[in-house]
């Protein structure tokens, strides 16, 4: 039984990971097929049916403008997954570059970059995010950039250690002797080594990114209405919490399910990576 099928078997046996993967898949499908699944246009207002509780024609009720909550939640999935994916990707690219650059160059560049990383990391993620979002402004693209910047230091730190370790290894110094350029060394030796760990981290952070998006939108700093995101839907829902709780409940539950799915996958991946930690 070769390494790959063994890994796959471990994954399959890990119930949490499998359930998480299935849930994530459902969420993904919802996002991709939003156009097909959503019964109504999420932006379509219907003043005659404002704040109606869940019923047959509006399974999750309507909001203060008469828009169908179910459709808005479904379309919100797209935004959440888009932001989640791209912000993690951005953070990964930015952070890995920083970390590898610092580790590989050594000396002053190393110290400066890693000190900045340490300082950024010591701060609560959300507050850093709030500050950067305030500087950059709101909107989908800016939100992705914000969260990407917030995540970058973490990836930087993750890439830094292994870069240092690989740098010291003999095959790198021998590569240098035969004249291999730095870029070549980096791409052929260093990156493959850190690839796995970064991928696992990336998956885990999809969940965090989605939470961050929701939090920032909830504070009014992310994506603003009328575009439906789970975060800003909860925000509008607070004002009518007593009379129309469904406005906040369903988007909130969606966040829970999605983030839970990614965390479950993450836990499973972690168990595979370090079998000693297996529960």
């Amino acid at each position: 039984m070769n390494a790959h099928s063994k890994l796959w078997r471990t994954f399959k046996n890990n119930k949490t990971a499998v359930v998480g993967a299935v849930m994530a898949l459902i969420v993904l499908l919802t996002a991709v097929c939003a156009f097909v699944i959503a019964p109504y246009d999420p932006l379509e207002q219907d003043v005659f049916h404002r704040l109606t509780p869940p019923e047959r024609s509006h399974l999750l009720g309507t909001d203060e403008y008469g828009r169908d909550v179910l459709s808005r939640v479904i379309w919100g999935t797209q935004i959440s997954l888009t932001v989640g994916f791209f912000s993690v990707l951005l953070g990964m690219v930015l952070g890995t570059t920083m970390g590898v650059a610092a580790g590989y160059s050594g000396g002053l560049t190393d110290s400066i970059i890693m000190r900045v990383v340490d300082v950024l990391l010591s701060f609560p993620t959300l507050i850093t995010g709030i500050l950067i979002a305030a500087i950059l402004g709101s909107g989908l693209v800016k939100l992705i950039i914000t969260i990407g910047i917030v995540f970058a230091p973490r990836f930087a730190r993750m890439a830094y250690g292994p870069t240092l370790a690989v740098k010291e290894m003999e095959y790198v110094s021998s590569a240098k002797v035969i004249g291999a350029g730095s870029l070549r060394i980096i791409t052929r030796h260093i990156l493959p080594n850190i690839f796995g760990e970064i991928m696992v981290a990336g998956t885990l952070w999809m969940g965090t990114a989605i939470m961050a998006e929701a939090s920032l939108s909830f504070l009014g700093l992310g994506v603003s209405p009328p575009t439906p995101t789970w975060g800003n839907m909860i925000k509008s829902g607070i004002d009518v919490l007593a009379s129309a709780p469904w406005l906040s409940l369903f988007p909130g539950a969606s966040i829970l399910i999605t983030v839970l799915a990614f965390n479950m996958i993450g836990d499973g991946l972690r168990d595979i990576a370090d079998p000693k930690l297996r529960a």
Partner: protein, 326 residues
């Protein structure tokens, strides 16, 4: 536990370790506040524009900026800022000209109350839960515990707050929906603290339970636990003495990390419950583009973070004798 005399502690580097850690914190704090200063300055628009509107004339804007102390070169502004920090002066709000320090002083207790109580709640419940789920591994208690704590870290804090509000305030009318209560009145304070505190406390519990559980399972595999059993020590001592003391080491350092996450989440909870505090102040300042207030609030947050990190390092040094010799 070992009967180590206090004088021995000092002899064995605890004091030196503490001093070293405190000294290191100072440049870190300086770096953070500097970063905050320059980041805040890079916000789009300016407070003068925010106050006067986009159509005000250039002269009016400049006049107001001069009044706000924003016309001097940025390096001078930085020095003013630093000097102010050292003397406890956090500047004046750009919107209403009132000194910020007293405002911060007024709301800080609420934030501290919230963060502290949630952290304590999390530790008090999280560690025992972590131990019990580890000891009852793969039995029902464990499965339930693990699922709940996984859900706990996947739940947005503001959503949990809303749920709490819905159930306890709106439907059951047991607790106030908004506000922080009168800080001088302990009963009133507690009444207002309960739901937000419980919200954050439950999240903290989830994090700590997971960490404690995995740490205990790791330590149980260690050789020295086997040695303790080989010596015939009773199980209670093996678990709560040998295992727990070592298992808590990584948990303690992570508690510091989680406390910092807690500070971030407290912003959201303060908004949900309309509770006075640094978070509410900060978000309000952003909305009004009052970047002086924003800056000062972030500096206070920075101070809190540095103190938490320091406390974590110190507790770690207290528990793990190996660290002090660094």
């Amino acid at each position: 536990m070992s009967p180590v005399p206090i004088s021995y502690c000092r002899e064995h580097g605890m004091l030196k370790y503490a001093i070293r850690r405190i000294l290191i914190s100072i440049p870190i704090l300086l770096a953070v506040v500097t970063l905050i200063f320059f980041l805040v300055r890079s916000m789009p628009g300016g407070p003068a524009v925010a106050v006067l509107g986009d159509y005000a004339s250039k002269e009016t804007i400049e006049a107001l900026e001069k009044e706000m102390g924003l016309d001097i070169p940025i390096w001078q502004q930085y020095l003013v800022f630093l000097r102010g920090l050292l003397s406890g002066d956090l500047g004046k709000s750009l919107i209403n000209g009132m000194p910020i320090a007293p405002q911060v002083a007024r709301v800080l207790p609420y934030t501290l109350e919230l963060t502290l109580s949630s952290a304590i709640f999390g530790i008090l419940f999280g560690i025992p839960l972590g131990v019990f789920t580890a000891l009852r591994r793969n039995r029902m208690f464990d499965y339930v515990g693990r699922t709940l704590s996984l859900a706990g870290i996947s739940l947005p804090s503001f959503f949990l707050g809303i749920l709490m509000m819905l159930v306890f305030s709106v439907k059951l009318d047991l607790f106030p929906v908004v506000g922080g209560g009168d800080i001088r009145d302990p009963i009133d304070s507690l009444h207002h603290l309960f739901l937000p505190g419980l919200t954050l406390g439950l999240m903290m519990t989830a994090y700590i339970t997971r960490t404690t559980r995995s740490s205990i399972l790791n330590v149980l595999r260690e050789d020295y636990v086997r040695t303790a059993r080989a010596k015939g020590m009773r199980e209670r001592i093996v678990i709560y003495g040998h295992t727990l003391r070592n298992a808590l080491l990584p948990v303690v350092s992570l508690i510091g990390v989680y406390a910092i996450v807690l500070i971030g989440s407290s912003v959201l909870v303060e908004i949900v419950f309309s509770r006075p505090g640094l978070g509410k102040m900060m978000v309000g300042a952003i909305g009004r583009r009052d970047y002086m207030t924003l800056q000062s609030v972030m500096v206070v947050y920075a101070g809190l973070v540095v103190i938490i990190n320091l406390l974590t390092d110190l507790s770690y040094g207290l528990i793990d004798p190996r660290i002090r010799y660094d």
